[in-house]
């Protein structure tokens, strides 16, 4: 297992380098230019100065190599400095956003907590809801509970989040006034009241995202349970005289969880990616909102860095899913 993991990690390096190049080229070739962000009242020579200062006039391979150096060498040094208080990165140029002129990583670190609390808790809640629903739906296939679960899952799948989000805002903010429609990032949780405020403002975005996640995962859970319920070893367990509880929760569930755990692990990178649309609807200034603003403003370093971080996470969690699979299923060995 360890050799497998190390091998996969080594193989990930060329993959990620290739991905970074493709992202860089795509972002660079995309329409839109940093110049369009500079007001027309700025005189041409000043405009040229600004572009030079940003480094946007350099040839593409110079910019790419510089970005590689900054991402893999300078930024880790900055991280080390901030943890240990050392000064290795003194005087080195960091990846700087073209929009705000502040280091990209600092902005990402600022935005990360909002995304993780809102999208992360939506994912966790989605999984917690989905697994029991999937189990019971499969156990009582075609019962009214299963039909209802299927119906809600279909709604969660097919109705886009910008629609459910707006509907929730209309009902619960505008008409009932229970929850705020705008997420207040500067809210600090210090006591019970501010905690309740935080819960209230998280309720709607989390509900929208949890519905979407739960509907996906519950379908996986249900079909995996159905696959296993039909297996012969379930009949063996019943013939042994085990109680239904043991049959379902020990025999069937443990086997059914193998593919579902993989699906859940593969979904975790999307948490960091943020829910672009939902964050926009509820004005959560997380990573998704950051990415969409950067794309609109042709902020190449920001878009490049964010998408590359997502790519790293996806590659990592693919590996984690594979390793989990090997740990959960004794039939799979990577030696």
């Amino acid at each position: 297992m360890l050799t497998f993991t190390i091998r996969r990690l080594l193989l990930a390096i060329p993959t990620l380098l290739f991905i970074s190049l493709v992202i860089f080229l795509l972002v660079d070739f995309a329409p839109g230019s940093p110049m369009s962000q500079i007001p027309l009242t700025v005189p041409p020579e000043v405009r040229l100065k600004i572009i030079e200062a940003m480094g946007a006039n350099e040839p593409i391979f110079v910019r790419y190599l510089l970005w590689l150096k900054q991402f893999f060498y300078v930024e880790p040094l900055v991280l080390i400095d901030s943890i240990f208080g050392s000064s290795y990165s003194q005087g080195m140029q960091r990846i700087v956003s073209w929009q705000s002129r502040s280091p990209v990583m600092d902005i990402i670190v600022e935005r990360m907590p909002q995304t993780l609390t809102v999208v992360g808790s939506a994912y966790v809640i989605g999984v917690i809801i989905a697994v029991p629903i999937g189990i019971y739906s499969a156990y009582r296939q075609y019962s009214w509970f299963d039909q209802l679960g299927t119906f809600i899952a279909m709604i969660g799948f097919s109705v886009p989040t910008f629609f459910t989000g707006v509907v929730l805002i209309l009902v619960f903010s505008v008409n009932l006034g229970w929850f705020p429609s705008i997420y207040n990032t500067s809210l600090k949780v210090t006591d019970w009241d501010s905690f309740m405020l935080q819960v209230k403002q998280m309720a709607m975005p989390v509900a929208v995202l949890a519905l979407y996640n739960a509907s996906q995962i519950s379908r996986y859970m249900r079909s995996s349970m159905l696959d296993n319920l039909a297996q012969d070893y379930v009949r063996t367990a019943r013939a042994k005289g085990m109680s239904e509880r043991v049959v379902v929760l020990k025999h069937v569930l443990r086997n059914s969880l193998i593919p579902v755990v993989t699906v859940i692990a593969l979904g975790i990178p999307t948490i960091f990616g943020g829910a672009i649309i939902t964050e926009q609807v509820f004005k959560v200034n997380g990573l998704g909102a950051l990415l969409i603003n950067a794309i609109q403003g042709s902020d190449l370093p920001m878009v490049q860095t964010l998408t590359f971080i997502f790519a790293v996470l996806i590659v990592m969690f693919n590996l984690i899913a594979d390793v989990l699979y090997g740990m959960l299923d004794p039939r799979i060995r990577y030696d």
Partner: protein, 354 residues
């Protein structure tokens, strides 16, 4: 030998009028429009220590009988009395408590073992549920069972996929034996195995029967193997028993035309005899169990069919000592008396006559 046992010995297993229908739902509203009559009124007894072979072609309901006997299905009608308890009507909790005395060896040794459990877990699990052995006693029992079926003790912590087919079937047998059952249904235990392994497993089953005094229902489509292991043999066709006879008598002179046709399909090892052998080739296909023919189930393909067969369903009656046949060719005193009953039954037959 055992079939001649005096009537004073009570059978270990008594099956009366066992019916197992699987409902068919069709149409827009999923209405209940019919039933697949997998098992349609089967009755037989198994004496303690006896092996009853159950043979028949694919889809005739053999496995369904085996599973229904252990109530792995909710049976439609009938009684199954095993060792004095009517398994067919037990409440779920009482049924669970009754499971130790009746066990099953399944057909597919790969699929019938939980892939995520080690051998010790698989064999030991019923001990957790039904006994209060501590972990050392449990391990001792697991080792004892592994010895009994000829598995090396070192294998206790391995997973099923690490074994060969024959070894897996041994695990399945050890698992079935864990709770000292009296009655074991062997549901085609050798069908998924190589021929060389089949003999090993069958001999193991016979040895265990001798040592532990087990009673078997041995379901198989391998007629030679049934001849080897069974004391009496029931031949099934389309959800009903066509003939139930002592093994030697059946193989020497089958009475029911279907049993005759089926046994004529057994390959003859002697080439000179094989050349002179008369095979009975049945025409047509097995009718759908969802829509069995009126009258005798076999009337659509029987070479000896006559009018009565298409009208009246023959009952399984004893025509010679120890030999039960469901066929109008063997008139019995009891047939005339019960004709009225047959006619009353005709109304729920949805079949078409030829």
């Amino acid at each position: 030998m055992l079939d001649q046992a005096p009537k004073s010995i009570t059978p270990l297993v008594q099956v009366r009028g066992l019916k197992m229908y699987f409902p068919i739902y069709s149409g827009l509203l999923r209405r209940h429009t019919g039933d697949v009559k997998a098992v349609d009124g089967v009755s037989f007894d198994i004496m303690p220590g006896e092996t009853l072979g159950l043979v028949g072609e694919s889809g005739c309901g053999k496995s369904t009988v085996g599973r229904a006997l252990l109530r792995l299905y909710e049976i439609t009608a009938g009684n199954v009395v095993i060792n004095g308890t009517d398994v067919a009507t037990l409440a779920p909790e009482a049924l669970r408590k009754a499971r130790p005395q009746m066990q099953m060896v399944f057909q597919d040794p790969q699929a019938s073992l939980n892939p995520r459990m080690t051998l010790a877990d698989i064999i030991g699990e019923p001990l957790d549920e039904h006994t209060d052995l501590d972990s050392t006693q449990k391990l001792a029992r697991i080792y004892e069972l592994m010895d009994a079926v000829g598995l090396n003790r070192r294998f206790a912590n391995r997973f099923p996929h690490e074994f060969s087919g024959g070894q897996r079937q041994r695990i399945g047998i050890a698992r079935a034996l864990a709770l000292n059952p009296r009655f074991i249904v062997c549901d085609e235990p050798i069908a998924a195995l190589d021929v060389s392994i089949q003999a090993q497993v069958v001999n193991l089953l016979e040895d265990l029967q001798e040592k532990l005094g087990l009673t078997y229902l041995f379901i198989s489509h391998d007629l030679s193997m049934v001849r080897h292991i069974a004391d009496r043999v029931a031949v099934m066709y389309l959800g009903r028993i066509a003939e139930l006879s002592p093994r030697d008598a059946l193989y020497a002179r089958p009475l029911h035309p279907y049993a005759e046709a089926l046994l004529s399909a057994v390959p003859e090892p002697d080439p000179t005899l094989a050349r002179s052998r008369q095979r009975i080739i049945l025409q047509g296909d097995v009718p759908s169990p969802a829509n069995p023919p009126k009258g005798c189930n076999f009337c659509t393909r029987c070479p000896k069919v006559f009018d009565l067969c298409r009208q009246v369903k023959p009952e399984l009656v004893e025509v010679e000592p120890g030999r039960m046949v469901a066929c109008h060719l063997y008139p019995n005193t009891s047939v005339a008396g019960s004709t009225g009953v047959f006619e009353a039954k005709e109304h729920n037959q949805q079949g078409v006559s030829q």
